[in-house]
Symmetry: C2
Subunit: 164 residues, 2 copies
DNA sequence: GGATAGTTTGATACTATATAACATAAAGAG
DNA sequence: CTCTTTATGTTATATAGTATCAAACTATCC
């Protein structure tokens, strides 16, 4: 575990996890990052990121849409998907492929490999963000002449709280 | 690479890859496996597996449906999805999560970890099937108290033929 | 060989997920 | 202020997957 970036591991599964503190930190970070990158952290974008962090479970696009509809007159699928695309591009959220859902990134602004632990019981998701894993995958692929640009790594199983 | 199961690596990206030979072998294997497991390798199931192997690219469910419609009167989405579920359960195909598509498994009948190399240029997919990777993922998750049941590992990048 | 229990497929309807295309509005640069 | 770019609104459509019940098939047992 020597070289793993432990700072990134969000202790999502822990009893004491203060999700609302994470939320505030993530929103502040997103705002700051947008400022330094010259991107616009608009009300819509902020609001969608808030809604994602409001739950500590993966959120689906159409759940977000439904919530937005209570707040904005003309919210439609593109409203949500475009905003999700932005948040993904900027690294503020991650997409959980195996659930078609989205979670807030616990460490926006620091590039890190993304590996997700998905509890099949409570459906919470934690980030592993392990450099050793990323490196091994890269090496193994390279040995086949394959140059890796991006990786989807999602481990389904049982989290410690659910008796993993 | 010591402990990796090299037999499983399909050389999908190689020039000389004889896809139709793979196809025939896979179909014969599926038939034999069904016999030993007491499962029914019905005409529909065989046909869908054939259609998947007919292309050497990942195939989408609705492409299969369209082709089936030319052959069977009443083919409908459930026809395809139920058959895909069967083929997945028996390990004859793999689902590519990042493409919502399906590929034939190059080594049905032998349990193996599934890691996919997805070329973003030609869209071909190869199996890595590396035990070291599976083991490392398991270890890293276990260190967080997480018990892994299944893994989605898909590496997107450029294959050797496309200049990776 | 016929009853029957289990499995597979047919058929209809529906839900869920995501994108295309074009119009309008808002923000930043000169 | 006006021009350009970026963001959002709006309508329509494409793609992906599931629920439900009925009919047909298969294997088995008597």
């Amino acid at each position: 575990m020597a070289s793993s970036d432990q700072a990134v591991v969000t202790e999502f599964f822990a009893e004491g996890h203060d999700h609302s503190a994470c939320r505030e930190a993530a929103l502040a970070a997103a705002e700051a990052i947008c400022r330094t990158r010259g991107m616009r952290f608009t009300r819509l974008r902020r609001r969608v990121l808030e809604l994602i962090w409001d739950r500590d479970y993966p959120v689906k696009a159409y759940e977000l849409l439904e919530q937005l509809r209570g707040e904005r007159s003309g919210a439609a699928p593109p409203t949500v998907y475009r905003t999700l695309d932005f948040l993904l591009r900027e690294g503020f959220i991650h997409r959980v492929e195996s659930l078609n859902a989205y979670i807030g990134c616990g460490d926006p602004g620091h590039a890190h490999p993304v590996q997700l632990l998905v509890c099949r019981h409570c459906y919470k998701v934690a980030e592993l963000a392990d450099d050793d894993v990323a490196r091994l995958l890269q090496q193994k692929a390279y040995a086949r002449g394959f140059a890796v640009d991006a990786a989807v790594v999602e481990l389904e199983g049982v989290c410690p709280r659910c008796g993993g």
